[in-house]
Symmetry: C2
Subunit: 395 residues, 2 copies
Amino acid sequence: MRRPITPSAHGTIGTPAPMMRGLSRTCGRGGVTLDDTQEARSMTIEKVTMAEVAAKAGVSRSAVSRYFTPGASVSKKTAEKVRLAAEALGFRPNILARSLITGQSRIIGLVIAYLENYFYPEVLEKLSKALQERGYHVLVFMSSQGSETVDDVIQEILDYQVAGLVTASVSLSSELSTRCAALGVPVVLFNRAQDGKGVTCVTSDNADGGRQVARLFTAAGHRRIAYVAGWEQASTQRDREAGFLQGLAEAGQTLFARAVGNYEAAAAKAAARQLFAGKSEAERPDAVFVANDHMAFVVMDVLRFELGLKVPGDVSVVGFDDVPPAAWPAYDLTTVRQDAETMVARTVERLLAQIETPAEASSEPIRMPAPLVLRGSARIPEGWSPPEPEPPQEI
Amino acid sequence: MRRPITPSAHGTIGTPAPMMRGLSRTCGRGGVTLDDTQEARSMTIEKVTMAEVAAKAGVSRSAVSRYFTPGASVSKKTAEKVRLAAEALGFRPNILARSLITGQSRIIGLVIAYLENYFYPEVLEKLSKALQERGYHVLVFMSSQGSETVDDVIQEILDYQVAGLVTASVSLSSELSTRCAALGVPVVLFNRAQDGKGVTCVTSDNADGGRQVARLFTAAGHRRIAYVAGWEQASTQRDREAGFLQGLAEAGQTLFARAVGNYEAAAAKAAARQLFAGKSEAERPDAVFVANDHMAFVVMDVLRFELGLKVPGDVSVVGFDDVPPAAWPAYDLTTVRQDAETMVARTVERLLAQIETPAEASSEPIRMPAPLVLRGSARIPEGWSPPEPEPPQEI
DNA sequence: GAGATTTTTGCAAGCGAGTGCAATTTTGAA
DNA sequence: TTCAAAATTGCACTCGCTTGCAAAAATCTC
């Protein structure tokens, strides 16, 4: 049973706060020992609430609340009074309090595994900007793909009552995705494909990308074609490889050699050595498709600087992602583009649709084209258009 | 005037929820036409609250709350009852509600300007991990250094009742820093120096770094030494340049040429051309200090691939930051190291000290050593230790 | 084992803001 | 001008959780 609380009109609200607001600093006793730190310390923390604004404006709390709520009904007169009072007091609504009642923050959780692969900083930056524009913000969680960790981390995220969840290059246990669904939190898997009710996957057409690389290699006359694989559990790895193999098969070839780089620099280095070190020309590949750019750079470095091979003279190298350094002249890496900009745009679009109008939102996977970007690290077959001088776009 | 935007779908939130809580899912009519999407859609969002746990455990809400509050007093018996009930119901406390009361979330706001400079992804990753370990999380805000934007963005951050604020390579208007102080929100400026009450600055010793580069160049016998400046308003730019000039002066030299790269790739490219293009050997610099690695790569690219100059044969190039690509053999860039790991560690340390024990926390600036990393892009003076083969650390 | 402590526990009052409902005011139409 | 319809306003309850306080239970002391 709850007793009605009668607000005493002239209420002393908290205890002493209101009266000392703003005029509290230790009234300048030019004390010798009162250093800056001390002063800062004794400053009252001022928090302005709606109640105070309402009082100052001479309206009810509801009016103030409505003023700050877009679609709500407030008269011009009231609005103006509130605006003035709020401005004078420097009031800003407490998002947490609002979220408590609406049951939803405007926070999007982002789980991301690593930022060493420069595809992800790009994604993060664009995602954050795009969401910011729509009034949402990104809460970041780093988590490597130990599945236990991921689940824990996602639990933590959910504790923040996030409005949505994006996982970049990290997949979700089906238990967790069920849980998110039950909580009404839409999930987008970015750059990972995965079955699962409700979650939306945004990927590029990895298989097709792989296939195109195979076509490039075979058309260029390569006969000893190798592959450096990414992390075997990743859908991107599987799809890229599958497409690549299929492309080779279409040209009547099979893989000459394979090593696993795990999407990691160290492992990629080892993989490159395994494929190339101490081998005669006939024993080593004459072309290698590396499952992402991040590893491709390492492979190129080993080839050129450790083994003294020419790229593409002795070996053609192709990567995947088209991260910015791929365009740097020192690498000039032929690669398959994943357009971060567009992938992010679609991600945001879908996520917000699911948040704001769940009833009519789709959860079909989104797959983007993955065009081959011809540059100088792979031999170009006769008749193919040569690498255009890169439009005068800035590096 | 900027009003917060509330999700349009006000309607359904507060109405029927409570009564249908938990027992609602469409009692499995295995209907043929009920596809996954439909089912997911009609699922009620289940939220478990403390009250429910309390009821199930046969204790009061307070008991449950205390069970989830570290230092609180709960008997073993009660704790066990609560644990069981909570587990059975899958209960997790709502962080937002907690924050509303404690007046402080465990969220740290991070304002960051750009991720193209690969120093920052490193910082972000490490910062996020370090904070995660201590139970805090990072809310990211991208903001370029238009001062208006920055202030707006920081306002938004404050709306989230963040426990602390880190700005990376972005400076703060003094009005805003005052405001943060008044709100009791500690602020750390990462990689920016700035006077100002209360805010802590974490930087490396930029001036000393610059000075060391000057010593390297002069000791190596360079006579036409140039500088590519960063964004002129940045304290890092000013300090690096000042130290560099002072180092030159100590060796009785002055700057041969200067151009501004603004810390941007495009501008750096233009700067490089301005300094080198179409000039005879005597007219162009024989050494150039570039204010950060991000620009140094671009400068090297222009020198080597556009102008056909040898590095360090014709020109020595030195950068600042020691981002990962600096160690890539294709650049092998001599540079000044800013140790992201340690800088972040100190940042976190200080920030948490200020949050958790404001009374005894210092706000002295933190300055870290900035050692020169000798690699292959700059001529090495006789007698200096040559670039060690990089310890067998992974790329 | 009684009294004095010390621990646990539950009650109820908030934290700051959103919102259904009913009362009030404004606007519109006749 | 008058009355109905529309727009605005305020009240009070609510969101999920923390916490001061006092009552109740457990523990200690001699």
